[in-house]
């Protein structure tokens, strides 16, 4: 049973500030994903929680216990590394049992737990092998099994799937999610892959320049991005932005179209997901520039009022570059942002 609390954590590397005043609470048994581009501080935050890095200021609490002064071994965590870190001089069995041996558990208990976790990760047949004889995917499984065998309160994962090829990554994603849900451990998972984040997380913390921009459920992050950064980082392709001019209280003009919106004294930005656009009788006049068939859909990049604008349309439609389309947003899907603070306006 372990809730994780991060209180006012900041980290400086010399004059470079990697993390600014991070506050985050992760509920017991929650699957939290730290998502962001490389260099956003997500791995640093994970390593501070693990105890591999010390925060410049702030506190880390795990299961109601302050741990930021403890070494990694005393924090009740285990970790899966990006390059797996499977010990090359030990067999798979000894790798999985490594932490248990360090706890001086009796042999039969070590054996029982190793076999159980190896079974969970479907690597029972590899127990006698060495890391050099394993494929990348198998090493990944050993690394996860080794972390699970510790039966930790918290499992930390640093881009664990990023070195696998696309197909294997998809397979492991589902499997990992299942195993972790079953093990009932709290999990923090660092990734730069938004699909991974969306598909696995209970909650996603989107990080940017050493700050958490939004911490919310995947669907909320997708539907109601808290800031322009989240809107343009999540979703592939990202949200479209158009400038909105005030036209009376709560009324806005966006590229010649009128919308109801928040009451605000200054100009805003209006945003819409490309998936939330459709061909209609009335709407934005959009000149198609590039048409990319993606199988199920057509991705059309067009020009609306001098701004780049993308729409995901039905692949049955016959759209050619140069065509002028009339695009209308789905009801209730438009979002508003303050261009100065870049934050969402309700």
């Amino acid at each position: 049973m372990a809730e994780i609390q991060i209180k006012n954590v900041a980290k400086n590397f010399g004059s470079y500030q990697a993390l600014h005043d991070i506050n985050l609470t992760i509920a017991d048994q929650e699957f939290m994903v730290l998502l962001g581009a490389s260099g956003c501080g997500k791995s640093t935050l994970l390593r501070i929680i693990a105890g591999l890095e010390t925060a410049t200021t702030g506190e880390v609490w795990i299961g109601g216990r302050r741990v930021d002064h403890l070494s990694p071994k005393d924090r009740g965590i285990s970790m899966v590394f990006q390059n797996y870190a499977v010990f090359p001089h030990l067999t798979v069995f000894e790798n999985i049992g490594f932490g248990l041996r360090m706890q001086k558990l009796p042999d039969d208990e070590v054996k029982r737990r190793v076999e159980r976790t190896a079974g969970l990760m479907h690597i029972e047949q590899l127990l006698k092998r060495y890391s050099g004889e394993l494929s990348g995917g198998q090493r990944q499984r050993v690394a996860v099994a080794r972390a699970l065998a510790m039966e930790p309160d918290v499992i930390l994962m640093d881009e664990p799937l990023s070195n696998l090829d696309a197909l294997l990554r998809m397979e492991m994603r589902a499997e990992l999610k299942g195993v972790l849900a079953e093990s009932k451990t709290t999990a923090i998972y660092v990734t730069h892959d938004q699909v991974e984040a969306m598909s696995m997380a209970d909650r996603i913390s989107v990080m940017h320049q050493g700050k958490i921009v939004q911490a919310a459920s995947p669907i909320e992050v997708y539907r109601d991005p808290a800031a322009e950064f989240v809107a343009s980082f999540i979703g592939n392709p990202p949200m479209n932005f158009l400038p909105a001019k005030a036209a009376g209280s709560g009324r806005w003009t966006v590229a010649g179209q009128n919308f109801d919106g928040p009451a605000s004294g200054k100009d805003l930005k209006w945003a819409i997901r490309p998936e939330d656009l459709g061909i209609a009788d009335a709407g934005f006049g959009a000149r198609a520039k590039v048409v990319e068939p993606l199988g199920a859909h057509l991705l059309v990049t067009c020009d609306v009022d001098g701004h780049q604008f993308r729409a995901v349309l039905d692949s049955e439609l016959n759209v050619k570059p140069g065509d002028v389309l009339t695009l209308a947003p789905q009801e209730g899907r438009g979002r508003w942002f303050d261009p100065e603070t870049t934050l969402a306006v309700a």
């Binding site: 693990a50 071994k73 285990s78 970790m79 390059n83 870190a85 490594f98 360090m102 706890q103 080794r146």
Partner: protein
């Protein structure tokens, strides 16, 4: 490429390969033949060694070697050589390896200065150290002892020990160590359970290397020892008056362990010298 060149090419290539092969074989012979000739001399009776002309085939007579082994003071010198080399080996690794580890794992103030100190030792003719130390050792009672000499030899071997272990430790991903920490290890147990088993072969190789450095050193050994001479110092001292067969047998005994050691560490030779020296 023209058609003519295409036709000519195979012949030229064949000729080139012939030259290449001959070159390789000649260079191998250049190294081996002198060693072989020393072997022939060592395996001949003292009479043969001093006679003329020489046969290029060994007669497998142990006379020279027996004479060498029976020569006054030789066994003691041989023993001294081994003791000094073993002391050097142990000291340079136990003192040098922690520094190599620190260089590979930590960023700290003064790291560059420390590296400079290590690299500096290479720009100095280190055996000259023996001169002032000779005086110092007399004052401290270390003169003419195996331990005193091994201190100087350790100075010779330590820069290599540091740089070699530095490259060995750098070859072990930090992630492995971090994984061990998250699995319940302290810094020390992570080192003994994970890092040490992985670098042990390399450490052994660099220890052997330190042994050879000490085993071969002549100048400091000759300056610092009088009664307790090492084998090279003993041979140097007797160069003027010793009979030929003693010199050759002595040279042979000096060479043999070196041959074995170089063979034992051949896998690490390039990692050790090449990378560590950059």
């Amino acid at each position: 490429m023209t058609a003519v060149a295409d036709v000519v090419a195979p012949d030229a290539r064949k000729a080139g390969r012939g030259v290449y092969r001959t070159g390789v074989i000649l260079l191998c012979a250049w190294v081996i033949v002198p060693l072989y000739l020393l072997f022939v001399n060592t395996m001949s009776s003292p009479e043969t060694v001093n006679s003329f002309p020489k046969s290029f085939i060994p007669e497998f007579n142990m006379g020279s070697l027996n004479f060498f082994m029976g020569f006054q003071g030789i066994l003691m010198a041989l023993w001294n050589s081994v003791v000094v080399a073993v002391l050097t080996m142990v000291m340079s690794i136990t003192i040098g390896a922690p520094a190599g580890y620190a260089l590979s794992r930590f960023e700290f103030r003064g790291k560059e200065l420390f590296r400079l100190l290590i690299l500096l030792t290479r720009a100095f003719p280190l055996p000259l150290l023996a001169l002032p130390l000779a005086v110092l050792f007399i004052r401290t009672g270390l003169d003419d002892t195996a331990f005193g000499l091994s201190l100087v030899h350790t100075t010779l071997a330590i820069p290599f020990a540091v740089l070699i272990t530095f490259s060995l430790f750098s070859g072990i991903p930090l992630e492995l160590e971090e994984a061990a920490w998250t699995l319940g290890c302290t810094r020390l147990t992570a080192f003994t359970k994970v890092i040490l088993p992985l670098v042990l072969p390399g450490i052994t190789a660099s220890a052997i290397f330190a042994f050879v450095i000490s085993w071969n050193e002549v100048f400091a050994a000759a300056v610092l020892t009088i009664e307790n001479r090492t084998l090279p110092a003993f041979l140097l001292q007797t160069l003027g008056e010793a009979p030929l067969h003693l010199k050759f047998a002595g040279g042979f005994i000096l060479v043999v362990p070196a041959l074995i050691f170089i063979f034992a560490v051949r896998k690490y030779l390039f990692a050790m010298w090449g990378i560590a020296n950059r």
